[in-house]
Amino acid sequence: MMEHAPALVIAFPLFAAFASHLIGRLGSRIRDIWVFASLLLTWLFAVFLNLEVMQRGTYAYTLGADISSLASPAGFPVRIVLVIDGMSALIAFMAVSVTLASFIYSRRFMERVSGGGESADRYCSLVLLFLAGMLGMGLTGDFFTLFVFLEMTSISSASLVAFFRKGSSFEAAFKYMIISAINALFLLFGIGMIYSQYGLLNMAAIANEMVLNFSFLDKVALSLIVSAILLKLGSVPVHMWKVDVYQKVPSSVAVMCITSSLVGIYVLSRILFSVFFSMSALTGWMIVCLGSLSIIVGVSMALPQKDLKRMIAYASIAEIGYVMLGIGTGLAGMSSTFGTVALSGGVFHIINDALDLGLMFLIAGAVFYATGKTGISKLGGIAHRSASLSVLFIIGMLAVSGIPPFNGFVSKLIMYESVFCLNPVLSVIGILGSILMLSVFVKVFASVFLGSPYKGKFREIPLSMTAVMWIFALLIILLGLFPGLALDGLVSPAVEALLGHGIYMGVII
């Protein structure tokens, strides 16, 4: 049973998503238990995947073949092949754990906000669909299933955006639908071009073909696919949709949206590292420029915002910029030492970013849960009402802006000292970005938490929400104090997986 883990990791949340609607008929308690159990099981599968990768290294799993390791029976792969290596196992593990945490968080949050019953069933199935899509994107080995799972994440997250059934959340969902339609269109164009030329869909096989003849059409296909994924990521020129979406989506789902952007970054790095690696110098520089632009625009636009969630959304665009900086330098300096160091900084920053901004969104959700408002001017003096929220916010703030003892500092330190070799100006932009990020969150902390005591009705925050937030905070502190654990355990296999495109191709051919 366990050697089918890669397929089960994707199949099980799908099955659970549809089943949860049915089980919802029996009663909401039972449905909660069912969803929690299925998430836990997927989490175990993901952990098993990581152990398997640590033991066996990169390996493929073909759906439907009698002997699972039989990659290509007749010379070239016909079936859907899932390739699991350090990087994809890490991304799958992260996606599942964040979904598990956000589900526990959202139990009481949804009750107060949308009043259980039928809409809670819808919420659970959509969340599970979203997770299945992310896992699919993380593990696939060929372009078309990547496109299918990308569609799945877009549709499920768009309907989650419209969950509150209010005018403005419909508008945000509508915008998101248009953006994902365009995204899917351009991605399909790129895949179609490649398919027309090589007749192949499997990434590794295409990469193998491309080593010999790399035509002009491939360049156009590359740029279409890259810009489609950049749109999904929300890097600078096309980042505005993310802000409207993050403002309207329920906070627990916003944490998952951040993870879906990070899965998008994984897909981008998978394509640029393992498939189009011959163009790496050029695409690396492009990703670095877009990344530093994202940092500058994201942080400078976060400063004047008046709404808590919009501000954190802009901050997440800046954090995506940091990760792109790391991965772009890894690409540009693929052969040199500072390239690998930058890549490990970028990948480690993916984990930190998911934790830090996830905690920030959870705190924003808790504030919304307690006071029913997210506008900064209407809130004030919450530190008097709940000290634990303000301590959590301080930890999150220091971690996001990279102040020494916390995890943000470690990944930023690694990145600055390696990106520095590519061009010193990038480190300067990084340092400036983190000080502006700090002042964004100090502004939020001052206007929402400090000042004279909050007069309005302050509903007590339930234990389940505080517990999840404290788990995030403890993870942040743990990663900050013992970075070696994460760096050796999770990050270095992922970096080797990305850089070793030879191994990646060898598994399939």
């Binding site: 530190a383 303000s390 102040i403 520095f420 010193p424 300067v428 400036l432 001052a446």
Partner: protein, 325 residues
């Protein structure tokens, strides 16, 4: 190893005493420049002893735990910076922290100041806190460029382990990149000196503790013991930022010239380092403090983001050009 632990205990406390000494000298020199007699040299120590005796008032609306813990955090973080800086001798925590860490540790005291100010529920303090945050945003840009360009100079001239402070303070930076490099470095040293009064909140940039406009700014509600801790943190921060500037730009040691050996060499280097720190502080904060008046907050941002940024980018380009030739 024992020597290191011993030094790790002595250096922070010595930092406080040196900081108070510099504050005393600073006030006397400023007074003499204005034709006044000026306080006795130990006046800062007397101020601290007096503040310790006074009552420590915590306002009602303030967030108590944050209000009282911020002075503590400010002083601890500033004293921690001294351990990573090369005070003439090799830094106490030599292999455990580098230049970027010092740059980020310099943010924590101002951040503690801002959070303390916001937590004290006084309108003056929240205005002061916002101004301090804006000032921090503006002076961090030229500071980052200066620090990175010195590291780039070392990197492109083939040094190993470029960001560690012992390497930086070990190499003679000025002659490395020929004439353009020298000019670039001089420009960047000027920008660094221009950043120091901003970092310390001295007169042209004391927008956050502006006495006449916002009644003490961030410190409006602090009194007694908490104010004493902030006073000490400010004194030690002057030593920290000045010794960072000295480590980057004036890394010359004296023990070589006098040919001292054994225990005398580090002592001579340490004293020479204090002299250099005094010189940097005198040029950058005392003279400027006596000569200029306070800037409006929007002027502070444009003053820091227009001229020093262009100058230091120019310096960086010169250095890049210098290293290529």
């Amino acid at each position: 190893m024992i020597m290191k632990v011993l030094l790790a205990m002595v250096v922070p406390v010595a930092g406080i005493l040196i900081g108070l000494l510099y504050k005393g000298i600073d006030r006397i020199l400023a007074a003499r420049m204005q034709g006044r007699v000026g306080p006795p040299l130990v006046q800062p120590l007397r101020d601290v002893r007096k503040l310790l005796v006074k009552e420590n008032i915590v306002p009602d609306d303030a967030v108590g735990w944050l209000f009282s813990s911020m002075p503590f955090v400010a002083l601890v973080s500033v004293m921690a910076i001294l351990l990573y800086l090369p005070l003439g001798i090799t830094p106490v925590l030599e292999g455990y922290g580098d230049l970027i860490l010092v740059l980020y540790l310099l943010i924590i005291p101002s951040l503690a100041l801002v959070l303390g100010g916001f937590a004290s529920s006084s309108p003056y303090a929240s205005v002061g806190g916002q101004r301090e945050m804006v000032k921090m945003m503006s002076y961090e840009f030229p500071l980052a460029i200066a620090v990175i360009s010195v590291a780039w100079l070392l990197y492109s001239s083939g040094a190993e382990n470029v960001f560690s402070l012992s390497v930086i303070s070990g190499t003679h930076v000025w002659g490395l990149a020929g004439i353009p490099g020298l000019a670039g470095l001089a420009v960047i040293f000027l920008c660094m000196l221009f950043v120091i009064p901003g970092e310390l909140g001295r007169i042209p940039f004391d927008v956050s503790e502006a006495d006449s406009e916002i009644a003490g700014g961030i410190f409006a509600e602090y009194s007694g013991r908490n104010l004493a801790l902030f006073y000490l943190a400010d004194a030690v921060k002057a030593v920290a930022i000045a010794s960072l500037a000295v480590a980057l730009f004036l890394p010359y040691t004296v023990s070589g010239i006098f040919g001292l050996g054994g225990a005398a060499a580090p002592a001579a280097d340490f004293l020479f380092h204090l002299l250099k720190v005094f010189f940097v502080l005198f040029v950058s904060s005392t003279v400027v403090r006596v000569v200029t008046g306070r800037l409006a907050i929007s002027r502070v941002v444009s003053v820091y983001w227009k001229y020093p940024v262009i100058l230091s980018f120019l310096g960086l380009l010169l250095i890049m050009g210098g290293t290529l030739i």
